[in-house]
């Protein structure tokens, strides 16, 4: 049943979910855009790291030095070239385009890497250690560490830096932001780039700790949105707390009902949440 180990592993899983959800939350919060291609970016981080590690012999975590900037550029360019003009037309055309990008990713990954699952092999994939009387996997601890560090980094960026404040201004009122000299299109691209880089980190953690397939991003997309909605739009701290809740829910659900019911528990929780409290648990005010 529910042991200390279940709880601890749920929290660690929540760290990975925080990294996935931060990128989604950023794009949703800034542009009101449901990015259905976020899972494709996460998995893309995995594949890119797979290429870098096999060809250059780098450690997957070290490969982030190349992979994260690459996905930042991919997000930035995609936003500039296609999505900004669609977002200005309305949220629906842009969402449909992310849907197209998702399919494009599924197809292109299958062509390039086949549909067989891939993992990022490291010497420490299954390395564990004992703490609090529980056996922990090193990679899961790394996932939580990334979750904490990146949450803080995004919070500091949005609250304390010039560009972060400009991004928030563009999110709240693009017209007014434009009149005070903020380049809204550039802020949108910046947010999309940061979301891409966050997806790269998530993809590498997924690749080390688990495995990934071309279409595997859909499960992470749904989990990510569960976290985003639970945490409340535009709340960085809320997103992190919600990620821990979802990680716990999945671990506890799996322990109580059996491992095959893990995802069912998360989806069911999400549906109930949407029906009862769509503004999220941690939202301070509606943000329309």
């Amino acid at each position: 049943m529910i042991s200390v180990s279940t709880i601890v592993n749920g929290v660690l899983l929540g760290g990975l979910y925080a990294v996935i959800a931060l990128g989604l939350s950023l794009i949703f919060g800034v542009m009101r855009l449901v990015n259905l291609a976020h899972g494709v970016f996460v998995i893309g981080g995995g594949y890119l790291s797979y290429l870098v590690t096999t060809h250059l012999g780098l450690d997957p975590l070290v490969s982030l030095v190349l992979v994260a900037p690459a996905l930042f550029a991919a997000g930035y360019v995609a936003q500039r070239a296609v999505f900004t003009r669609l977002v200005l037309r309305g949220t629906e055309p842009a969402m449909v385009a992310t849907f197209g990008l998702m399919l494009l990713g599924h197809g292109a990954y299958t062509v390039a890497f086949s549909s067989n699952p891939k993992t990022l092999s490291t010497g420490y994939s299954n390395t564990g250690f004992d703490a609090l009387g529980v056996r922990l996997r090193l990679v899961d601890v790394v996932g939580l560490a990334f979750g904490i560090v990146l949450t803080l980094a995004v919070w500091v960026w949005l609250q304390k830096t010039r560009s972060g404040v400009a991004v928030r201004a563009a999110a709240i009122d693009p017209g007014a932001a434009e009149t005070v000299g903020i380049d809204v299109a550039r802020m949108y691209a910046l947010a999309a780039g940061v979301a891409g880089a966050l997806a790269a980190v998530a993809g590498v953690i997924v690749g080390i700790g688990y495995s990934f397939t071309p279409t595997g991003g859909i499960a992470y997309l749904t989990i990510g949105f569960t976290v985003v909605v639970l945490g409340g739009i535009g709340s960085v701290a809320g997103t992190f707390l919600a990620a821990l809740v979802i990680g716990l829910a999945q671990a506890v659900g799996g322990a109580v009902f059996g491992p095959v019911y893990q995802l069912l528990c998360v989806y069911a929780l999400f549906v109930i949440l949407l029906a009862v409290r769509p503004q999220g648990l941690f939202a301070r005010r509606a943000h329309t």
Partner: protein, 329 residues
């Protein structure tokens, strides 16, 4: 506009002149109706699949196009309809026709439940909420031993209707769904539906019950989709959760409708033809390239021709008509 009245009557626009459209539609249905007797069995097989996709796209178009609810959960209706029909035939020996009718009831019920769950949601939240419902159903069906879990169901061969019957059932679904779409374009109810899509607060302010309108369209669409799911079940015989509750159904419904033309009667039908026959059928041996191409096509269409192929055709026709008019005067 003045002085062109006679011209407009002899040079019908593609939309809005119900007479010409109805004539073309009746001709197409008549041509499709003689295929089982006149065509080869491989043509019938291909056309059955095409008709299934056209019907599904049209059913989705009611919700996604006319009501503006971008549902990502319509796979749940295909699965619920297919599984209901198969379970009825396997467990109680219900005749196929009755099983299809009862799957419609289950589809309507599921649509009502989904509407109630998503009742407070708008725009983007509808998409992710319906996606979660569909994925939850898929996860449940993979684990539920009563319906065979991940092994799924097999319909006994003795209970199956003939392939001609399945073909005509698919054709009837296309006609039925298209008639609903056609009616939405012309009825006062349809006007209310589109008002809610275009400006929900405005529509509510003038007394339209937005919640009820959206729920009714969802129930009609869900019912139709479940019936098509039952037809698919009799066509495929073996049912596994991934093939019936999986996202590929709703993905096809959306790309076909978007590429053909969202919120039009002809759009989803054209889109089904282009995507299934033009891409998927031609690249049958390389499905991953077909997926890549359709994904790219969706982006190109939404950027360059947001009204889809049908919308582009209408624009070209309008342009030609203006040129003709200009030359006369």
């Amino acid at each position: 506009m003045s002085g062109t009245l006679g011209r407009a009557a002899t040079w019908p626009r593609l939309r809005g002149r119900a007479g010409g459209g109805a004539l073309v539609a009746a001709g197409a249905v008549a041509a499709l109706a003689i295929v089982p007797t006149a065509g080869s069995s491989s043509a019938r097989t291909t056309l059955t699949t095409l008709l299934v996709y056209a019907a599904l796209a049209q059913a989705w178009n009611l919700v996604g196009g006319y009501a503006g609810q971008l549902s990502l959960g319509h796979s749940a209706f295909v699965g619920a309809g297919g599984y209901t029909a198969a379970m009825l035939v396997i467990e109680t020996g219900t005749p196929a026709a009755a099983a299809v009718a009862l799957s419609a009831v289950v589809g309507a019920g599921l649509a009502l439940v989904i509407s109630l769950v998503l009742i407070r949601l708008r725009e983007a939240y509808v998409a992710i909420g319906s996606l979660a419902v569909a994925l939850a159903l898929l996860a449940w069906m993979v684990t539920w031993e009563h319906t065979g879990g991940s092994r799924g169901l097999n319909i006994p061969l003795g209970e199956l209707p003939g392939l001609d019957t399945i073909y005509y059932a698919a054709l009837a679904c296309v006609v039925g769904a298209s008639l609903v779409a056609w009616w939405l374009e012309r009825s006062s109810f349809g006007l209310r539906v589109m008002a809610v899509r275009d400006n929900e607060n405005g529509a509510r302010a003038v007394g339209v019950n937005g919640t009820a309108v959206k729920a009714i369209v969802m129930v009609v669409s869900g019912t139709l989709t479940a019936v098509i799911g039952a037809v698919v079940a009799f066509n495929q015989i073996a049912l596994v959760p991934e093939n019936f509750f999986g996202l590929q159904w709703v993905i096809n419904m959306i790309i076909m409708t978007i590429i053909g033309g969202l919120g039009t009667v002809a759009g989803p039908l054209i889109g089904a033809g282009v995507v299934y026959w033009g891409i998927q059928k031609q690249l049958e041996s390389q499905p991953e390239i077909a997926v890549t191409l359709t994904g790219a096509l969706v982006i190109v269409v939404i950027v360059l021709a947001p009204a889809g192929i049908w919308g582009a055709l209408e624009r070209v026709a309008g342009w030609v008509a203006r040129m003709m008019r200009a030359r006369r005067t």
